[in-house]
Symmetry: C2
Subunit: 385 residues, 2 copies
């Protein structure tokens, strides 16, 4: 009936996405003959990528044998290198987290120090999960700055001294390494974890600075130089006095970033050094801090309103430290977006706080690695070697 699509590797994609859990599902979805499906599934089981579990529910006939990704024998790592912390997650091929850790660590220590730390943590986590180092198939990493994705080299990152053009992948010898901007991997983690099915999503990180990860057609949009999503230096109106570290004035980050809010609070007599301090003040009931956060929301909303018109996403997710007080931040953001964006674009738009939280970056980095490993190209190399 169907004109038989079903490219090789397609079968695995359907299993890993959870769209198909039995052989007959696969036959129906791919249009391939049942015998062909069985043969391919056998090859996948043979190569250790898929396993059979106990039989499922019968629907009146012989109960189907359930299929799922074989989660033993492989391991994948997601690394979240932040400005002041480093989180490493060990995941199995289905995306489940096997073990995880977080340590304070300054990215300014430089690549050798940081990557050596990652390496030690990897060994630790692998030991915890009871898997040998050789099980590690791929590693994804998010770093706080722009990256040339194809080569895994940071591209003039402002807050990562010593990392410029450093070939991060070479540090991990027998393992595929994918490096991306931290906001991108957060967007990926949030999308895959909380909003699969959504085609166009924006993830906005409101921390010390402000950045944005873009998911278009379900895939990350990185732009021509890999610098897409850098919305922290978009101009907001009415704040020409706010100077920014980039040399311009009225940048969103200089008006509504965590660092800017802390500075303004300090100026107004309420001492605060970081975005986290601002959050703490809000949670403690400080009305001045609360007002500033809500106002920051309006400024972020002003920029996002423009991007909603331009990009027309289905979902905007707000993450980062400031999202811990998301009720107040979101109020300002929503208010402005619904006022300044076109009705057609906002009609089905959801604006929500992060559902994945602290884990989004490490998770997303791991998923970057897993999805690369499971990509049709790569699978064709692995199965029947």
């Amino acid at each position: 009936m169907t004109p038989a699509p079903g490219s090789p590797g397609d079968v695995l994609t359907l299993i890993s996405a959870g769209s198909a859990t039995t052989r007959s599902d696969l036959a129906r979805l791919t249009g391939l003959a049942r015998s062909t499906v069985s043969q391919r599934v056998d090859a996948l089981i043979e190569s250790g990528l898929v396993e059979e579990t106990e039989s499922g529910e019968s629907t009146g006939g012989r109960p189907p044998r359930q299929l799922r990704l074989h989660t033993d024998g492989h391991a994948f790592a997601g690394v979240d290198v932040g400005a002041t912390h480093c989180r490493v997650a060990l995941m199995d091929i289905s995306g489940e987290v096997l073990a995880e850790c977080e340590d304070p660590l300054l990215v300014t220590e430089g690549p050798e120090t940081v990557l050596a730390h990652v390496d030690r943590r990897l060994d630790l986590l692998l030991a915890q999960a009871g898997r040998p180092r050789s099980a590690l198939r791929a590693l994804g990493m998010g770093v706080p700055g722009p990256v040339e994705f194809a080569t895994g080299r940071p591209n003039n990152p402002p807050i990562m001294p010593g990392w410029n053009d450093y070939p991060i992948p070479e540090h991990f010898a027998d393992c595929v390494v994918l490096v991306d901007n931290d906001v991108n991997v957060m967007a990926l983690g949030e999308h895959r974890n909380a909003f699969p099915g959504t085609s166009h999503l924006l993830f906005v990180k409101v921390g010390t600075g402000i950045g944005c990860g873009i998911v278009a057609e379900g895939r990350l949009h990185r732009g021509a130089q890999g610098s897409a999503g850098d919305i922290g230096h978009i101009r907001v109106s009415g704040h020409d006095d706010a100077g920014c570290r980039c040399g311009n004035s009225a940048c969103l980050e200089a008006v509504a970033g965590g660092a800017a809010l802390a500075r303004r609070l300090t100026d107004l007599g309420v001492p605060a050094a970081t975005g986290a301090d601002v959050v703490a003040l809000v949670l403690a009931g400080d009305t001045l801090a609360l007002r500033l956060v809500r106002e920051a929301g309006r400024h972020i909303g002003e920029v996002l309103a423009g991007l909603v018109n331009f990009f027309n996403p289905e979902v905007i997710v707000i993450g980062g430290v400031l999202s811990r007080v998301h009720e107040h931040l979101l109020a300002g953001i929503r208010e402005t977006i619904y006022r300044r964006s076109l009705p057609l674009a906002t009609h089905h738009l959801s604006i929500v706080p992060s559902r994945t939280g602290e884990d989004a970056a490490a998770l997303g980095a791991g998923l970057l690695a897993i999805e690369h490993y499971l990509s049709p190209d790569n699978i064709n190399k692995i199965v029947t070697p």
Copy 2:
């Protein structure tokens, strides 16, 4: 050597893109055996999609037989429905224009009138080109408002009374019809005609209003509701007094659109009704009009600077009526973008006037139709029926 990609229909894609002009090219590019390539090419010739031309240059051995799309027997139409004009282009399958016409026509006349006009012009052009109506394979159309692309129905278009939700494709019985926003098809036309090879491109139309077509990964980005690229109502700073027809104030369109410029010129004692009048004044050497255009460029640049940070395109193309005085418009745009965007994003960014001109919309609409017809899915249906 290569792991043999080469899906069916891939061969035709390579020929139509001009990437391969001989059988050996195809063998090399697809990784298929020479004999297989020959067999597939034969099938394509059989079905009338490809033809052989005279032998090409020898490189020391037997000269290869050239292959190209067979341009007889098929026809495709690109229709550009503007606010006050209607242009129809008849193209062959290679994208070459066979015949073309433009007439003044008000879109406010409503769908029946406009589409009947299109129908008459199609017959005329087909006669000019000496092809029967049955040769028409697909038709693309750009209209001045938002469209639900999947169904070809305008979606609450502000300047197209009577068109809302009208099922345009049903008007053309035996022919695939694709309808999209006019700025989108202009972006497509400009990209395919002048900037193939570019992955990420923005096409900005500066006319009565201001809109933007987005090409990402070489394909049109339409967004969740098909309203992506509507940048005319993004806020610009310092113009809270400029009211916009959308109900808000300080919209880009209300500050820098052709209609707004004409109104301001009139207010300042220089009568002008439309963007075209403003252009005429500039060309006549009116310094006030010139200053306004340059200032409009700065405002457009302010918005584009934000979008450059967000989207990180390789090329920005400026089109629309106002681009006829692009030296002045571009000066303001470039000035602001290079001042307000991040160096990483602007380093390899080109900002150029439209190279395709008046024809971009009809051309892009036709290409939309042709590319749909040549898509692998569709080809598999056509060849060996």
